[in-house]
């Protein structure tokens, strides 16, 4: 395993497109070659050397390459785009589209990430030890190909519409999330360990949304199914009990929404339907 470290030389203001920062592209390159890679800073083409210093040695195969990034890279977008191997570790915040279309490998961020983390991701893993923006593991406008595989774990909070049009894999948020987790998802799992602002599972056709914290209300297009003791998320069995709902009926969906009973006394009305079932 060889490491290469990029340190940001100066503060950034306008967006920087850095899809070249990925082990697949930088592997087997000399530092000189790496520093001359082109990227966009706003409407100017610059070289990596204009904003980064490089330490270490990338002169190894991509599989063995670990890229480290240090600095406030909130404006740096598309790091690890389409990456198929190796790993990236970031100390500091990163911008949008981190690990877009990533297929394999690993990205760790010790800081916050912008929106569209792991959009259209196919495999591999992303860990954010901080907060993430909106549309984690999602599709882009007009397309239905959200995240298909792999896992994204957010230690902090995430924004709205995580797992939008998701088709597989796992998005796990340990903190709070905004509205519409799992909107239009067809497969895979969205796990929200903290509170969710609402509208979980909206228009989902399949897959699983699990909320351990509070969820203000259940959409009218979900029908109550039962109270379950445990819910399985990948290999893990989460203990409940959980209210489980089937939906979104409006989309003829067979998705499952599970909400932890103990965090959600306002959903007690469901229990009247349990009795009806037992009658």
């Amino acid at each position: 395993m060889k490491e290469i470290t990029f340190r940001l030389k100066r503060p950034l203001k306008v967006p920087v497109d850095a899809s070249c920062i990925s082990p697949d592209i930088l592997g087997d390159k000399t530092n000189e070659e790496i520093l001359s890679f082109e990227l966009w800073e706003g409407n100017r083409k610059i070289h990596l050397s204009d904003i980064f210093t490089v330490e270490g040695d990338a002169h190894t195969s991509s599989d063995d390459l670990e890229i480290r990034l240090v600095g406030d890279m909130k404006k740096v977008r598309r790091i690890g785009r389409g990456m198929m191997t190796g790993s990236i570790e970031v100390k500091g915040d990163v911008g949008m589209h981190l690990g877009e279309e990533m297929a394999s490998g690993r990205i760790i961020v010790n800081g916050n990430a912008g929106s569209w983390v792991g959009s259209r991701m196919k495999g591999g893993s992303i860990e954010i030890h901080g907060n993430a923006g909106d549309f984690v593991g999602s599709a882009y406008r007009g397309s239905r190909n959200g995240m298909k595989g792999g896992s994204i774990v957010i230690e902090g909070n995430a924004g709205a519409e995580i797992g939008c049009w998701m088709r597989g894999g796992l998005v796990r948020v340990k903190g709070k999330t905004g509205t519409f987790p799992g909107v239009h998802m067809s497969n895979g799992t969205v796990l929200v360990e903290g509170d969710c602002e609402g509208r979980a599972g909206a228009q989902m056709t399949g897959g699983k949304v699990v909320v351990l914290g509070s969820l203000p209300s259940i959409l009218p297009s979900f029908v109550f199914e039962e109270i379950r003791d445990k819910v399985k998320v990948t290999e893990e069995k989460l203990s409940g009990p959980f209210y489980t709902f089937l939906g979104d009926v409006n989309e003829n969906g067979s998705g499952r929404l599970s909400v932890k009973v103990s965090s959600n006394p306002q959903l007690k009305w469901c229990e009247s339907y349990v009795e009806t079932l037992e009658d």
Binding site: V14, P15, K75, R141, T179, H184, A202, Q203, S221
Partner: protein, 437 residues
């Protein structure tokens, strides 16, 4: 022309809102408009008072103050600001001609900027919704001829589109509908507005409850039972009653306003509304249309789409069009403080956007074009006075249903004031020569 000349120009297109009335009769005496027949109250203000708060010379900020400058100086300064910028934003385009927007998009290409129109903070959510679901829509005459159910959702046309109801919907007379008595009017709003008072059925909804209500309505339309008794402040019986009206109509339409696009859920509210309308087409004819506010915001979408493929929020910084609202939309770019210069054309974002966003706009090099003095022109570095489109300048506009109307020039603009097209072309040419050098 004699000093006391008087003339009447008919079939004038109104340049206020997306309703696109084109039957105004304008009487001009001594170079002034003295009467606007068929015009609504808002329109009369515009046609009769267009001289209020104008300015006639280009201005450049010097030593912290805006001072008069020659047109060439101002063009030179504007071109310099835009071509030196690494990420300029070119914003507005809703109160100008389609021809001006065409030049604006080319300017954005040339300076490597983001071209965005007011759509982002009016009906952008409807476009994003349509990108997921599609949209079943029509021209306004279809409604006039055929509609027996008209829903206004989060829209208050009596105030915002004063002639909409009479020209196109419940009060209009069409080939297959006699008028009010053959149409049902439904209003969904958080307030009992003046529009709601006209309705046969008014549904008062809790603020931000639109998505829930739409989901419930879709359930009811499918004939599914609602488990919850009250949704978004509306009883399930009432929702079923509404669903029944929608399903049983012969031709229905929902006109939605910013009450739906701005409330919580934004594009997902429209996702649900567009889905509802689509579902209804399995059993009847149903359509939906946004109540576009600015008279040519629709045109800005059309022009931007045919040149770049995308209707708004188009980032051309890398030489090709890229679109991702939330990333490339004006409010987001400004609130992340990313752009380093701006051109604002016929728009007043400093008055109309959240404070922190407006404040940033005042901090960066700013070029404005507007017929009137506004909060935005006051904080600009270069300000061009421009002719009022539809009064002092001709050009085409797209009304809310996409029908194009050609505006006439009725009067000459104040001395030395140029049209948006002329100012933009001058800036474009100057940028071209700067880039070529």
């Amino acid at each position: 022309m004699t000093a006391l000349s008087e003339k009447i120009i008919s079939d004038v297109v109104c340049t206020i809102c997306g309703t696109g009335c084109d039957d105004l009769q304008i009487r001009i005496k001594d170079g002034k408009i003295i009467e606007a027949k068929n015009a609504c109250a808002v329109s009369i203000s515009k046609f009769l008072e267009q001289h209020a708060q104008r300015y006639s010379s280009p201005m450049i900020r010097r030593d912290g103050e805006l001072k008069c400058a020659s047109f060439d100086e101002a063009v030179c300064k504007a071109a310099t600001i835009l071509s030196e910028s690494r990420y300029p934003i070119l914003l507005g385009w809703s109160l100008t001609s389609a021809e001006a927007t065409c030049i604006g998009v080319e300017l954005a290409e040339l300076v490597g900027g983001v071209v965005d129109n007011n759509t982002g903070f009016c009906h952008g959510p409807g476009l994003i919704g349509a990108q997921d679901i599609g949209v079943s829509t029509c021209t306004l005459g279809e409604v006039r001829h055929r509609a027996d159910v008209v829903v206004y959702w989060g829209a208050n046309p009596i105030h915002a589109h004063p002639r909409h109801i009479a020209r196109y919907t419940v009060l209009s007379k069409g080939r297959f509908r006699e008028g009010r008595k053959e149409r049902k009017m439904i209003v969904v709003d958080v307030r009992k507005t003046d529009t709601a008072r006209m309705a046969d059925l008014f549904i008062q909804i809790e603020p931000n409850g639109d998505y829930e209500l739409l989901s419930a309505l879709r359930m009811a339309v499918k004939g599914e039972e609602l488990e919850q008794q009250v949704i978004a402040g509306v009883s399930s019986e009432r929702i079923e009653e509404l669903a029944d009206l929608l399903v049983r109509c012969e031709f229905g339409i929902i006109f939605y306003g910013v009450g739906l696009t701005m409330s919580r859920g934004k594009s997902r509210n429209l996702d649900a509304a567009l889905s509802l309308v689509r579902d209804l087409n399995r059993s009847t004819k149903f359509l939906i249309m946004p109540m576009r506010g600015h008279f040519n915001v629709c045109g800005a979408n059309e022009v931007t789409s045919w040149i770049t493929g995308y209707p708004y929020a188009v980032d051309l910084s890398r030489g090709y069009p890229f679109y991702n609202p939330g990333e490339t939309s004006a409010v987001d770019i400004l609130s992340r403080r990313e752009c380093d210069a701006a051109l604002v054309v016929s728009s007043d974002p400093v008055s109309h956007l959240p404070y922190s966003v407006a404040k940033y706009l005042s901090e960066i090099p700013l070029v404005t074009m507007d017929p009137h003095v506004t909060a935005t022109t006051m904080v600009s570095d270069v300000a061009f006075p421009t002719a009022i489109m539809g009064i002092e300048a001709s050009g085409s506009l797209y009304r809310m249903d996409g029908v194009v109307l050609e505006c006439k020039k009725l009067l000459d603009p104040p001395q030395s004031v140029k049209s948006d097209v002329d100012v933009l072309r001058a800036i474009l040419d100057r940028v071209k020569s700067l880039k070529g050098a």
